[in-house]
C-alpha cells in the first residue's frame, strides 16, 4: 500500500473507532441500571411500558454487539448498516419527542430520567456519529 493509502487507511480506522468506543461506552453505561434506562425510555412516551422494559434490556447489548461487530471482516458491513439504522432511529425519537414538547433528558449513557444532554445536543452528536460511521472502515 502506498504511504498515502496507509495514512488514509489509518484515518478510516480511527474514524470507525469513534462510534465503536461510543457505542460500547453507551451500552455498558446503560447496563449498570436497566431500570433507570427503562424509565428514560418511558419518558419519551413513544412506546408502552412493556416495550420500554424490553428495550431497556435489549438495546444496551445490541450496542455492545454492534460495537464489536464493526471490526471483523465478516460482520463489518452488516454491523455498519445496523448501527446507522440505530443512530437514525435514536435521532428520530429525539426529534419527534422534542417536537411534541416533551422535555426529556437523553438517557443516552444510562442513568435515570434527567441525565444527559438535551435532545438537541444528543441529536447533533448522533449526526456526527453517523458521519464517522459512513467514513470509517475496518481496513
Amino acid at each position: 500500500m502506498t504511504r498515502d493509502g496507509k495514512a488514509k487507511s489509518w484515518l478510516r480506522r480511527a474514524a470507525l473507532a469513534v462510534p465503536t468506543v461510543l457505542f460500547a461506552y453507551a451500552g455498558a453505561g446503560k447496563l449498570t441500571d436497566p431500570a433507570a434506562f427503562a424509565e428514560s425510555i418511558s419518558n419519551y412516551q413513544l412506546v408502552p411500558p412493556l416495550a420500554a422494559a424490553l428495550l431497556a434490556v435489549y438495546l444496551p447489548w445490541l450496542e455492545l454487539v454492534l460495537a464489536f461487530g464493526l471490526w471483523p471482516g465478516r460482520t463489518h458491513r452488516a454491523a455498519k448498516a445496523l448501527s446507522l439504522l440505530l443512530l437514525v432511529g435514536f435521532t428520530l425519537a429525539l426529534v419527534v419527542t422534542a417536537a411534541r414538547g416533551i422535555d426529556v433528558r437523553c438517557g443516552c449513557f444510562g442513568g435515570g430520567a434527567g441525565q444527559g444532554p438535551t435532545a438537541a445536543w444528543a441529536a447533533l452528536r448522533n449526526i456526527v456519529l453517523i458521519v464517522f460511521l459512513r467514513f470509517g472502515r475496518n481496513v
Binding site: 449498570t32 422494559a53 447489548w61 455492545l64 458491513r77 434527567g114
Partner: protein, 156 residues
C-alpha cells in the same frame, strides 16, 4: 469454471439477523438476574397512576391546599414567580433539591407537582421519578400547570 457458490451465511442480511439475535441471550439474563432490572408491572402501574392522578387547579386550590406543592420548572421561572409555599424540584438539580423537599415533607401529605402548562411534561416526569424513588406515595399533577393556577388566582 464453475462460479463459487455463495454460502448463505456470507449474506449481509443473515449476518445482520445474527447480530440482531445475538443480544437476546444476554438481554434475557439481564431481565432475569440484574439487581436493577426493569420491573414492567411497576412501570405499567406508575404510568397508569401518573396519567390518572391529575387534578384541575380549582380542585387543587380547594382540596389540596395542605399538599406539598412542587414546582417542576426551571429555577429562573420559579424565582420569577411560583405558587406560594411551593418548593422547586426539577430534574436538572434533582440531587440537590430532593433533600430539601424531603425535609419539608411530613411523610404522609400528598405531593402536587406543576410545571409550565399544557404541553409541558416536566411535572409528569418529576411525579414519575418521585414515585420511583420514594415508593407508592400520592403524587398529583396539576392540569394546566402554572398558567392554570395564575388564571384561577386572578379570578375572585
Amino acid at each position: 469454471m464453475k462460479a463459487p457458490r455463495i454460502r448463505f451465511y456470507d449474506s449481509a442480511c443473515v449476518v445482520a439477523l445474527c447480530l440482531l439475535a445475538a443480544p437476546l441471550i444476554p438481554a434475557g439474563f439481564t431481565a432475569w438476574l440484574h439487581p436493577s432490572r426493569p420491573n414492567w408491572a411497576e412501570l405499567n402501574a406508575r404510568e397508569k397512576s401518573v396519567s390518572q392522578d391529575r387534578i384541575d387547579a380549582g380542585e387543587a386550590r380547594s382540596h389540596y391546599r395542605d399538599a406539598l406543592w412542587l414546582d417542576a420548572r426551571s429555577r429562573a421561572d420559579y424565582e420569577a414567580a411560583h405558587v406560594p409555599g411551593a418548593l422547586l424540584l426539577n430534574e436538572d438539580e434533582w440531587e440537590a433539591l430532593l433533600p430539601l423537599v424531603m425535609e419539608r415533607w411530613d411523610g404522609v401529605q400528598p405531593m402536587l407537582v406543576y410545571c409550565g402548562g399544557e404541553s409541558c411534561h416536566a411535572s409528569e416526569a418529576v411525579a414519575r421519578r418521585l414515585k420511583r424513588e420514594l415508593g407508592e406515595i400520592k403524587v398529583l399533577v396539576l392540569n394546566g400547570g402554572w398558567p392554570a393556577w395564575r388564571a384561577l388566582e386572578a379570578t375572585p
